[in-house]
């Protein structure tokens, strides 16, 4: 049987990049995402018994990361006024070749729950059940947030495409 240390290391190595990407999606900052990822190592170690004994350890870790990212974003919002990004300004410099980057930007402007839902499903490939555990809601709510997020992305991409080609 694996020791606690081995189980911890195995879990962290398997989930560290997911934690980083999820934090980056929510905070829209690589630096903050790295800080959150680093913090997670310690927090998971401190809560190792609860994490390793949970039904979905990686979902547990993602929930911790999500909460840290939300706190981080809130603190930033309190001190810095967020400036609008590309699409809603009707920025005409948007071209089709930038669509992938634009998709990321659109996702970063979604409500946080939708951001986490679309990221965990479409980037990380998590099951709905695991996402429900991360978001601390039921599976119906996850599918609803996922649907809204995807439709928002589609709508804004089509809008940007229209502006970019006119």
């Amino acid at each position: 049987m694996k020791s606690i240390t081995e189980q911890y290391t195995e879990l962290i190595l398997s989930v560290k990049d997911t934690v980083f990407r999820l934090a980056k999606t929510i905070t829209a900052s690589r630096v903050e995402a790295e800080d959150i990822t680093q913090d997670i190592y310690e927090k998971v170690w401190r809560a190792r018994d609860a994490v390793l004994n949970s039904s979905h350890p990686r979902a547990y870790v993602c929930r911790m990361a999500r909460n840290l990212a939300i706190d981080c974003t809130r603190r930033r919002r309190e001190s810095v006024e967020i400036t609008d990004r590309v699409v809603e300004d009707g920025n005409k410099t948007v071209i089709v070749g930038d669509m992938a980057e634009l998709t990321k930007q659109i996702i970063s402007r979604l409500p946080e729950k939708q951001q986490a839902a679309i990221h965990l499903r479409d980037v990380e490939g998590y099951e709905i059940e695991e996402i429900a555990e991360v978001l601390e809601c039921d599976q119906v709510s996850v599918r609803m947030n996922l649907s809204r997020a995807r439709k928002s992305v589609r709508e804004q991409l089509l809008k940007a495409l229209k502006y970019g080609t006119e």
Binding site: S3, I4, T5, Y8, T9, I12, L13, K16, D17, V19, F20, R21, K24, T25, A33, E34, T37, Q38, Y41, W45, V96, M99, A100, E101, L102, T103, K104, H119, R121, D122, V123, E124, G125, E127, V142, R143, M144, N145, L146, S147, R150, K151, V153, R154, L157, L158, L161
Partner: protein
């Protein structure tokens, strides 16, 4: 995969009702199909963005953790030292009590004498001292008697 099937899956996808397997089929279609109809082009970019995001990696280094936290290691060390000290003390006390002790023959000036020869020598020394004292006393009495007779 046929475009009509992809369109059906996309409808389910935007309703949040697709399975992971169906979503993989959609991604594969957009990643591998060259001539995509114009109305589906934005989705190609969208799925490309998801794939690109999935390739991002954290630069952080996972710290090595001790098998036990520091305080536990310290506590363990202290316990081991204490146990060793108790064991040594117990051995010392046991050896002290269990060692054969010589019988005491007598005390001279508060000192235990356990050796027979030494006891005899001490006795002779003391008796000799007593004898000297008696002789001195007798000589003194004799002198007193001489003076009284005169």
């Amino acid at each position: 995969m046929e475009q009509s099937r992809i369109r059906e899956l996309l409808d389910l996808y935007f309703e949040g009702q697709t399975t992971l397997e169906q979503e993989r089929a959609i991604k594969d279609f957009f990643a591998t199909t060259q001539n995509i109809p114009a109305d589906l082009a934005p989705y190609k970019a969208m799925f490309a963005a998801f794939d690109a995001s999935a390739l991002e990696r954290s630069d952080t280094v996972v710290p090595r953790v001790a098998s036990r936290p520091g305080w536990q290691v310290l506590l363990g060390g202290i316990s081991a030292i204490s146990a060793a000290a108790c064991l040594l003390l117990a051995l010392f006390i046991w050896s002290d009590y269990s060692a054969p002790k010589p019988s005491i023959i007598c005390y001279v000036d508060g000192v235990e004498i356990t050796d027979t020869d030494r006891a005899v020598a001490e006795a002779q020394r003391i008796l000799s001292g007593v004898n000297n004292d008696v002789e001195l006393a007798m000589a003194t009495i004799e002198k007193v008697n001489i003076f009284e007779l005169k």
